[in-house]
Subunit: 321 residues, 2 copies
């Protein structure tokens, strides 16, 4: 389990149960399938999304079984999208471990991702309220749409900031929003409080993704667990570059128009992005979303979970300020 | 619309509405996405699964809106699996038209498939009963599992008949069963009748897939819309070959052990599969499932929809007898 949860044993122990539920749901006669999903679960990330679902649920009439199921769903859905992302990116490593598609082949990864999607809905259908299933399935299709949109905007030098924000809103912020929302809603928090959680999650997610994209321009390879400039190579133009391109600088545009980018080109693009103020502007926007998230959080009823949420948000988002 | 429905204008008109609902659900701001999904819908197959859902619904308290939604879900789910199948098979053509992955790239096809899955659940969540959503999501995860299992058993010369049947039960029969079942259940047919529809669908689906696999050994390219021996090349060993291998014929085994199969090898394998009785035995088993489907159908209450179902089943399954 990621160290971020060490300070909060109450949540941490729930996340261990969530992991067990995930493993139970991965159980099947085909041992290769079972092993590959268990691999995924054990290589686990920070478990931020299920952690958020659990924390939000504590603001209402906490029902352990229901909350755990919801937490499992958001994490498994996240896992499914990661498996398919790795197919697309042709990634060899994820969280320092060999990816499913590198180990078992792309075909396998496509179907395992599908299977994980279906497991999510299976858990959801057997636990959640009809209303939550509706909200969940809507959010999930928005997330997939965000992925397609990102793909469609590759290598486009005319992506607007608005377009970028819409894309990350679907791709990332939606699942953060859903995680907090579903935890609250399934604990019978009233509509207003559940909505507030949605807004908190949305803003955390927006800041989170902008910061992640920033690190592609500022982070060292070691910090990232992947190479810097990775998105650039794939033709995914994120906020720093989009800002840098606003003044239509000829040198930067010329570089992006090259058929193939050398290592040197990538470094030069990163330098120019800094120079044209792309990094600073992106960092400022991330800060804006972070502040918005904090100001929404202030409206939460006072209790220890509110403080917890504020602290974890800090851990998550203060990486670049 | 496929000619199979010309004889049944009542069902055909419903299927046109289903197609419209599919197009409505494909609507989105990104016009590339919308166009690619519409392409898929218009290249449409026989619409057997949604047709089955509609027919079964006529045995109960027919609710047009609900039935159409269920019919849409089974067809869109089918479409989603086809899109991902084409990624796996690297298919250039599907139903005589260029596939999504050939036209827009594999990455795109992976995400579009995911998006279609999510749309299914969205429609389901907004229309169906909680119980139907549960049954649906269970069936869907079983279908995905069937796909993974097929992948895992590639190039295995020791696949048992039992293993093959389990695989096609998940991959194909489950969705046929679900289509008839969900139509009946959502029209408030009683449990016994809905269950009967499940059994009918399962047996039709089993026969359907065995026949499809048979055609890979007996059909001409023109008949198939794809090359014969296609599965063989991909290392997917289906029933005719599995039966032929039962007597462990050295010549056939030797051919399958070759690193790469030439066109001649494929033809030889097909010949030997005939020779060792694989085709006849597979045909006999398909017949058995067909008969089972008919005998279950006999138990349905007498009405024009029963006759319709019998006739369409005949059209569908009498291709090889």
């Amino acid at each position: 389990m990621h160290a971020i949860w060490n300070k909060y044993p109450e949540i941490q122990s729930e996340l261990y149960v969530v992991r067990e539920i995930m493993e139970e749901n991965a159980r099947c006669k085909d041992k290769v399938i079972e092993a590959s999903i268990k691999d995924l679960i054990q290589s686990g990330g920070k478990m931020i999304r299920p952690g958020f679902a659990v924390i939000a649920s504590k603001f209402g009439d906490y029902k352990p079984e229901r909350t755990r199921a919801m937490a499992t769903v958001v994490e498994m859905f996240h896992m499914a999208t990661l498996v398919h992302d790795d197919v697309i990116d042709d990634s060899k490593l994820r969280r320092g471990k060999e990816t499913i598609q590198s180990k078992y082949g792309k075909e396998y990864a496509v179907y395992i991702g599908d299977y994980l999607f279906c497991i999510c809905f299976k858990i959801l259908a057997s636990t959640a309220s009809l209303q939550s299933i509706q909200i969940d399935s809507k959010a999930m299709s928005k997330i997939c749409l965000g992925e397609v949109e990102q793909l469609n905007s590759r290598f486009q030098k005319e992506v607007s900031v608005k377009n970028y924000l819409k894309r990350i809103s679907g791709k990332t912020a939606e699942l953060f929003a859903l995680s907090l929302y579903i935890g609250a809603a399934e604990s019978d928090c009233d509509k207003k409080l559940s909505r507030l959680f949605w807004n908190i999650g949305h803003n955390i997610g927006m800041a989170f993704q902008i910061i992640d994209d920033l690190l592609d321009y500022t982070g060292t390879d070691k910090q990232l667990g992947k190479e810097a400039g990775h998105d650039l190579r794939d033709g995914i133009y994120t906020l720093p570059l989009i800002y840098a391109l606003e003044s239509k600088p000829a040198d930067l545009i010329a570089l992006l128009e090259k058929e193939e980018l050398s290592e040197e080109d990538i470094q030069k693009i990163i330098e120019l992005t800094h120079e044209y103020g792309g990094i600073d502007k992106a960092r400022a926007l991330a800060k804006k979303y972070t502040n918005k998230a904090y100001s929404f959080m202030k409206r939460l009823p006072d209790n220890k979970y509110k403080i917890m949420l504020q602290e974890i948000t800090g851990e998550l988002l203060d990486r670049v300020y």
